[in-house]
């Protein structure tokens, strides 16, 4: 409990400290990390708790991003309108894709979600009215939240709400059912649970929160383009989830922070001795990320949160 209060104080005072130091870059960066934390957490719900390996989650982020962007471009600049609209759009997309995909199992499901996400990518790419493959630049952030510090607090609030909701959800009736279905689907059906309905609901809720992240992302950069729907973005979200810990409350948030933090460090802070051995190593960051991911899958599949838990248990 004391640890949580300490964390809260840090998060609350961070932007003010940065503002005093006249360094708003990191406030903006922190906002971006928190937005991805929301997206990764939403994927964690579907994948970590629900056991649904959806490789198309980026489609829902994208649906939200575009819905929110279109609102702003068409003059509806209030976040109170745009962001719920984004969540609704993403939820609708999740409903449609889930209704077809969740009839299938195993490798089929993974491939189908991937295919549908790719379909969404191509669809958005051909929407010439809203930028097509060049993307869409927004005249402003939703509700005029141009102030970095103010935006940070809004995002922090939304992330906190998301995590709180996930926490309650996991311990609720619904959460129990979802975890039971993941544990033994046949048995869940055999005790009278309409498995498909619950799975679809979980998928849609996860999609809705991904949409929220998408809306925030669009506002943050005042820009959206089809790449946000690309399946490699789904891959990045998955990396975050496994990095942080599949099926653990803080998994998405930790994973987002670590992955984005590492990427930032690699690109913006060249390591002298590394540069001497391997010049241009920064261009090949993908290699490092790939190797790290592989190592995690092979040796630490519970992610960082899992490692921390293990150490706590060993120390106890």
């Amino acid at each position: 409990m004391k640890k949580n209060i300490f964390l809260l104080i840090v998060f609350l005072s961070f932007p003010l400290v940065m503002q005093a130091a006249d360094n708003l870059f990191y406030v903006s960066f922190a906002s971006r990390v928190m937005i991805y934390a929301i997206a990764a957490t939403s994927l964690n719900l579907a994948l970590g708790y629900g056991g649904m390996i959806s490789f198309g989650h980026a489609a829902f982020v994208g649906a939200g991003a575009y819905a929110a962007s279109i609102c702003i471009v068409e003059g509806l600049t209030s976040a109170w309108l745009g962001w719920p609209a984004a969540m609704a759009a993403a939820a609708a997309a999740a409903w449609l894709i889930g209704a077809v995909s969740l009839r299938t199992r195993g490798v089929y499901f993974i491939m189908i979600t991937l295919a549908f996400a790719q379909m969404a990518f191509y669809l958005v790419n051909s929407m010439k009215a809203y930028g097509g493959d060049e993307g869409l630049t927004l005249p402003q952030r939703a509700s005029g939240l141009g102030n970095e510090v103010a935006f940070y607090y809004v995002v922090l609030l939304l992330l906190s709400l998301t995590l709180l909701l996930l926490h309650r959800l996991v311990n609720s009736r619904f959460g129990r059912v979802i975890v039971a279905i993941r544990e033994n689907e046949a048995r869940a059906e055999a005790v009278g649970l309409p498995v498909f309905r619950y799975r679809l609901a979980c998928f849609v809720i996860a999609g809705a929160f991904a949409g929220l992240a998408g809306a925030l992302l669009a506002s943050h950069g005042k820009y959206v383009n089809p790449n946000v729907l690309h399946w490699s973005q789904s891959g990045e979200l998955m990396i975050m989830v496994i990095l942080g810990g599949v099926g653990r409350l803080w998994g998405g948030a930790i994973g987002a922070a670590v992955l984005l933090g590492l990427e930032h460090l690699i690109t913006d802070y060249p390591i002298g001795w590394l540069e001497r051995i391997a010049p241009n190593y920064q261009d090949h960051a993908g290699l490092g990320i790939g190797l790290v991911l592989l190592a995690i899958v092979l040796f630490a599949p519970q992610g960082l949160a899992g490692l921390a838990d293990g150490r706590k248990r060993a120390a106890a």
Binding site: R176, R187, A190
Partner: protein, 247 residues
Amino acid sequence: MLRLEALSKRFGGVVATDGVSLEVAKGEVHALIGPNGAGKTTLIGQISGSLPPDSGRVVFLEKEITRDSLHERVRAGLARSYQITSLFRRFSALDNVALAVQARSGSSFSFWRPVAGETRLFDEAASILDEIGLSEKKSQTASTLAHGDQRALEVGLALATRPQLVLLDEPMAGMGPEESRRMIALIERIRTRVTILLVEHDMDAVFRLADRISVLVSGRILATGRPQEIRANAEVRRAYLGDEVAA
């Protein structure tokens, strides 16, 4: 209570169920016996809803359920325990049963309130655990339970849905004599509340518990009747019982 009308099912060239007609009366313990490969599992699958029959009808409580899904049948009062133990392995025994109780008691589209606060749910789960003799082990993880306890939990899960008819699929599978005795006692305890269709190989148990017995051979019902009739039936003896039954 349960009526099967000319059920048939074939897999490619193999006829697994060949025009099976069967009736289970309310309140009885009806045993289904037969040699391995007779088609018992296929038949159970068609009754419980995991396998759709090619032709014929399944009628439960005067309503046709032939095409109903698994969970719809459970809602209607038809539950099943599995021959190969199928539990929520990482849940505790109590949580296993509690989930079944939860499934029965209203919608689980509840996202905010913690389940832990629903004392009525857990009280009911605890009493079912009591009934199946697992009260002391209620906090134990299902995967760490002894085999006999897991089989009992199987039955408990079926009971938690408050069924009218329970399909017990070889509840005594893989049990030693002591565990079998406990299972028989359990079945004796619950027979007053539910109708039971019992699939078993353990002849001792069958003849002790059953009100009526049906014999399934090569996908067809060879005979149905009271235990003494079946024991005396020459055809049944030839096809299945052989020397297993003392005179």
